[in-house]
């Protein structure tokens, strides 16, 4: 087995056709494709391979997708537990192992400080010197920064404030109640773990995507994979902006078959309230929209399960249990609308309100008003600039380990074409 190339100090002003920023699953997958296409390139990684997984995830986290659903170009899961869910250390091993099959140099411990346009391509400035290249692949992840809503500023100083990127385990928290803001996979996983540590948890629910872990004898992701839902192309989606902003599904890997939804967590003793709307005079106010938010999640889940039922019928998949849809979300008739933040009821607030990528180093005018990358399926408006590993980049599965490979193949083909054409046009202009 080939060791990872740890070349810490690239010489300044080196030339290469393509620079991949980031050596997580997206960067590694892209490297694999570029090598196959004979496009010379390097990977620049600020930390080590799979850095975000090393540094920015809580202890108990497991992948939301089962092990078999971790296919990457040139790699698939070959362990003993295809239906299990990788822990973070297992995933790091998996990706590190994958990085050994990468033939291009991976420069670890190299922070990209600026990417700017040049006449023939891009200049990539780093903590360890500069690179000139024709194309750049931004594979630095979708979750670099925790998003915290503006109301956070009005929280009293006596409340500890934490993001899922800072959270490791419940021992880190003071005794006392915890308000978790957000009901995505992160929010609900943390809520459950903290509630089980003996702290009373309240979850403020904004948008949510509900689905059962298992359905009709299979993992829900098996059905989504089989029935083509994961392959849904970004061009077939009515409102791709909304699809890309959708929070992660309420799922947890690990305890097989365990559902992570409001019904199951209420049984653990967790309280649910509406979206955190306002903090004023040391009081938190919650939206009265909880019933509707839950209704929408129930309806969307039912649509998903009916799609699966239809698929099973069309494909004549037999020997599976009858369709039993989970019951609708049960809520109290009048969920609470207010919480006194200095009564001692809660000591900690956790902002599970989403993540966003960090593009502070990108000095090419390709960001929208919200600071997000404008791109068409990963092809960015500046020629030769690509993005990979973002939610719904080209298909529904884009942000999953298993989904990044198809995107990498598409973008690699696009890049090859672009390089061939620009080579041709250079020739012509020279002639």
């Amino acid at each position: 087995m080939k060791p990872i190339t740890h070349l810490h100090r690239p010489a300044s002003g080196r030339f290469v056709t393509s620079v991949i920023i980031g050596a997580g699953q997206a960067g590694l997958a892209m490297s694999h494709c570029l090598s196959e296409a004979d496009i010379d390139h390097v990977l620049l990684e600020r930390g080590e391979v799979a850095n975000s997984w090393h540094k920015e995830r809580w202890d108990s986290l497991r992948l939301l997708s089962p092990n078999w659903l971790s296919r990457l170009p040139g790699k698939c899961y070959d362990g003993v537990d295809p239906n299990g869910f990788m822990t973070v250390p297992e995933l790091i091993n998996y990706l590190t192992d994958y990085s050994r099959s990468v033939t291009a140099p991976i420069f670890t411990g190299v922070t990209v400080t600026e990417v700017s346009r040049t006449q023939s391509g891009y200049r990539v400035q780093t903590s360890e010197g500069e690179w000139q290249c024709k194309t750049v692949v931004i594979a630095s992840g979708a979750c670099n920064i925790s998003m915290i809503p503006g109301v956070a500023e009005a929280m009293p100083a006596s409340i500890d404030s934490l993001t899922p990127m800072q959270y490791r385990n419940p021992d880190q928290l003071r005794d006392g109640g915890v308000l978790v803001v957000g009901a995505s996979a992160s929010g609900l996983q943390l809520a459950s773990e903290i509630q089980n540590s003996g702290r009373q948890v309240t979850v403020a629910v904004g948008e949510q995507v509900r689905m059962p872990r298992r359905y009709r004898g299979h993992d829900i992701m098996w059905w989504m994979d089989q029935s083509g839902l994961f392959d849904l192309n970004y061009k077939e989606v009515d409102d791709i902006g909304r699809a890309r902003r959708t929070p992660s599904s309420q799922l947890v890997g690990g305890d097989r078959g365990k559902d992570l939804d409001i019904n199951s967590l209420q049984q653990e003793g967790i309280d649910f309230v509406g979206r955190l709307a306002f903090v004023h005079n040391n009081k938190a106010q919650f939206s009265g929209s909880l019933a509707n938010v839950c209704k929408m999640a129930d309806l969307k889940m039912r649509r998903l399960l009916k799609h699966i039922d239809n698929y099973a019928k069309e494909q004549r998949i037999v020997d599976i249990p009858e369709a039993v849809h989970p019951e609708d979300t049960r809520l109290s008739d009048s969920p609470r609308l207010e919480m006194n933040l200095i009564s001692g009821e809660i000591k900690t607030v956790i902002w599970a309100t989403g993540y966003r990528p960090d593009y502070s180093w990108l000095k090419v005018p390709v960001l929208d008003a919200k600071g997000l990358l404008k791109h068409d399926g990963g092809v960015v408006g500046s020629p030769g600039l690509y993005a990979l590993g973002l939610p719904f980049l080209r298909r529904r599965k884009s942000q999953f380990i298993d989904g990044v490979g198809d995107d990498a193949r598409d973008l690699c083909a696009h890049m090859k074409n672009y390089l061939d054409e620009s080579w041709y046009s250079t020739k012509v202009s020279v002639a």
Partner: protein, 186 residues
């Protein structure tokens, strides 16, 4: 394929709304609206409100005429009942907003509506406004909207219309979420 798709007609110009959405994404300043009303005291608890002008799309706008509204309280409040109460106007606003939302979403989803009726009930303990019990709030403790909808769609699809209408409703948001409120004397 030669399938004649049925096009729903609920009288909502969805194409124009979607066009506006696209245009305002590019020019967020044009999306800044201001709605206005004025209200004159007449006698007792009877007041008359006028609504005509508003601001939006970067310029002053106007309804086709000035609309006026009598506001009063019923006889059980020892008033003249020259109009509905302010809190009932809130229910009117909510019902109007959600019902219009249902029509718009249905049009966008190509669902033909045959009948839509919203019934709104707002529960209020008037010990609050009378200052009898300081623990009772002045406003509604609960508001319930019941939709009776006849449409060419499944029950789940109809429920989804109503859910999406709430998600995009301004009045729903005004009622369900806090708003900064400034009242001044000139």
């Amino acid at each position: 394929m030669n399938v004649q798709a049925k096009i729903a007609n609920n009288g909502v110009n969805v194409a124009a709304l979607l066009e506006a959405r696209e245009a305002l994404t590019e020019a967020p300043v044009a999306a800044q609206f201001q709605w206005r009303a004025s209200c004159d005291w007449v006698d007792g608890t009877h007041t008359v409100a006028q609504v005509e002008k508003f601001h939006g799309l970067c310029e002053e706008q106007s309804h086709c005429k000035e609309f006026t509204f009598d506001i009063d309280h019923p006889e059980v409040f020892a008033a003249q009942d020259k109009g509905i109460t302010p809190v009932e106007y809130v229910l009117v606003g909510l019902a109007g907003c959600l019902t219009a939302g249902v029509a718009s979403v249905a049009q966008n989803r190509n669902i033909q509506l045959n009948k839509v009726r919203a019934t709104v009930e707002g529960d209020m303990d008037i010990q609050g406004i009378l200052g009898i019990d300081k623990d009772v709030r002045n406003g509604y403790s609960n508001i319930k909207v019941t939709f009776d909808i006849d449409a060419d769609a499944s029950k789940d699809d109809i429920e989804a219309l109503v859910a999406q209408s709430q998600k995009r409703s301004a009045v729903f948001d005004v009622i369900a979420n806090p708003t900064n409120l400034v009242v001044e004397v000139k």
